[in-house]
Symmetry: C2
Subunit: 270 residues, 2 copies
């Protein structure tokens, strides 16, 4: 089974203050996935980020931070506003995927997960398994969830891929992002930055804090942490640039593609 | 706890071949619910119908009818198209309710229910209970669900209210529809038709088959069957015309309102 993440920065115009979808990326990626599924029987789970549909609101309402009792209703409204906006993005993403003949069925994180201090602590994956068994493509996205300690939390798509990959025994994890993979330092700042073909520890980063974009759910370092955790379980993942045509298709087909493999195995074992 | 159903015929232009929302009803009903919640601590669950967002597609794809193996992918696409369209309606309904300050959180039927021969046979109501405990208003809607016998089925909002009312121990069930209640025969055809103040058996209907609109999920007779089943458990319900201003508000407040009470108790016991 493959877990494919489509980044919020790929599907939406993430830096826009308004919730805006990136139509051309969505349409092209839907075709790439459809082309793969037409000739492959592999089970697939899609996780998508939420970009400008979720992050500005999560920031505005400071979901996941402590708050006074008197702020509870305000926070609740923030929680449900976010749930509703990310659901809207999911509707748009599903519409395009369905138009390409992909039977995607939403299984929202806010309905199946509970968190403790921002980490998924309880889950009901029954529907995931049932939909997969019957040939559907379950789709899930960054969302708000109830939190035992903080009342409410934001769960990133990256945390979701990690959780699902382990608990659904994924064979492969693909992250479609807006960068080519993991660099030793920010390639926009340092000319001599280089791309890792394979990455196995955060210690390898030369300029840690400065590495590419940081968002409310952790940015690239957050992603890497989730994937290194997966690597500890023997599940390798690959980060590719989904803005470049056919990268996601090639990754799905396990063809050679520019990107970074996150793995703790020796390179020649992969 | 109150279970409130907002009918698809009230929220959408049901007879339209295109999915169309009834903006003015939605906006007015959101105000009525908000006005009630401002002065009442009562737990509330909202169930909404899907009208023109669901019924035409359910008919087109004949979801819930038997099919050949070769039609499976076609049926799957029908299933996911419906799930996505009703999710879109739910987004629009939630947006309006949230704007009125109501913390509604979607708990989709396609994620929590399984059916056997079109009836809910398995459910996970944990998230319903958790959201209610924390003061949210869970919202659910007519949807497609996996079916053990038929592979897939459509579950009406009316079946959902019945199931939730019993399994969440509702004190009160309110159905906001586009009619004044239950008539002994179709009031549009028979001048001498009269409205039941209280209704306790389908045998009371003079012209059964002819009674008001029939839709893919059973129409008025289907509604009454679900509510009579509830009445067997001692849970009374009331059908009111939600097209008329303040009817839903009055029903929520348990004020006198035109409508039909479905109950098996004697009238003076109610």
């Amino acid at each position: 089974m493959i877990v494919l993440k489509l980044g919020g920065s790929v599907l939406t115009n993430k830096n826009s203050s308004r919730a805006e979808i990136n139509e051309s990326n969505l349409s092209r990626l839907s075709c790439e996935i459809s082309r793969f599924l037409d000739n492959n029987d592999e089970d697939l789970v899609i996780v998508h980020g939420v970009g400008s549909f979720g992050h500005p609101l999560a920031k505005e309402y400071e979901i996941g931070e402590s708050f006074k009792d008197s702020e509870y209703l305000y926070k609740q409204i923030g929680f449900v506003r976010i749930e509703n906006e990310v659901k809207k993005l999911n509707f748009l993403v599903c519409e395009e995927l369905i138009n390409e003949g992909i039977p995607v069925i939403a299984v929202p994180a806010s309905t199946i997960f509970t968190a403790s201090n921002k980490r998924i602590s309880q889950a009901n994956l029954d529907k995931f398994k049932q939909y997969l068994e019957r040939g559907y493509v379950p789709i899930i996205y960054g969302d708000v969830v109830l939190d035992d300690e903080l009342e409410m939390a934001v769960i990133s798509g990256d945390q979701i891929i990690q959780y699902l990959a382990i608990n659904l025994n994924a064979d492969e994890v693909i992250l479609g992002t807006d960068v080519d993979g993991v660099y030793n330092k920010n390639p926009k700042v340092y000319e001599n930055a280089y791309l890792y073909e394979r990455f196995s520890s955060l210690d390898d980063l030369d300029v840690f804090e400065d590495n590419i974009n940081v968002d409310v759910t952790g940015g690239m370092v957050g992603k890497i942490r989730e994937l290194l955790y997966l690597a500890d379980f023997g599940i390798n993942s690959i980060i590719v640039n989904a803005n470049i045509e056919n990268n996601v298709y090639k990754a799905l087909k396990q063809e050679k593609v520019t990107g970074t493999i996150i793995s703790k195995e020796e390179l020649n074992e992969i």
